[in-house]
């Protein structure tokens, strides 16, 4: 994003707000990941301890989710840059 039209005070305020928002987004993404993987991986409530099978499923699910997000982020950034280029001309 291009913040060059802002003055210094605005840019400083902007980055403080973004920093805080980034932390909030990260936490939201994290709890979303936990909920999603728990829903898929944990379906046996005959015990209160995670089985090793469940633990493995959760671990794979988290790995895949992060790789998925990363890949979506990369494509998204490309397409966004492309679109900006077109529209700013």
């Amino acid at each position: 994003m291009d913040f060059s039209q802002m003055n210094a005070a605005e840019q400083a305020q902007m980055s403080r707000i973004l920093e805080k928002k980034q932390m909030q987004d990260f936490l939201k993404m994290y709890s979303n990941l936990v909920e999603r993987c728990f829903t898929t991986c944990c379906n046996d409530f005959t015990s209160k301890a995670l089985s090793s099978k469940e633990e493995q499923c959760l671990s794979h699910c988290a790995d895949k989710f992060l790789k998925h997000s990363e890949r979506v982020g990369a494509r998204f950034a490309e397409l966004n840059a492309e679109q900006m280029g077109v529209t700013d001309k």
Binding site: M1, E10, M14, K21, Q56, S59, H60, K64, V72, D88
Partner: protein, 99 residues
Amino acid sequence: MSFLGRGPAAPSSAGSLSSERVEAAIQEVELITDVFNRIVSSCHSKCINQRYLDGELSKGESVCIDRCVAKFFDANKKMGEKLQAMGASAGGAGGLTSL
């Protein structure tokens, strides 16, 4: 800035401590983040095998993600243009303005 084909959000003088330029930029970031999160969620449901036998994206999943993001992006753009053409801000979304 032209996500969705909109220009920067109209200055709203919303009476906070932030300048209008900062408010508009924050709104833009929030919109983009929201779209991003919806793509993550939607393409996860469409492309990721839920059996989790391992932690790697398969070839098929990776290709599916790439296409899914491109399609969602396209759909988002098309529908933004459509809504603008309809001047929809005065339409369905305003269902509550009569309150």
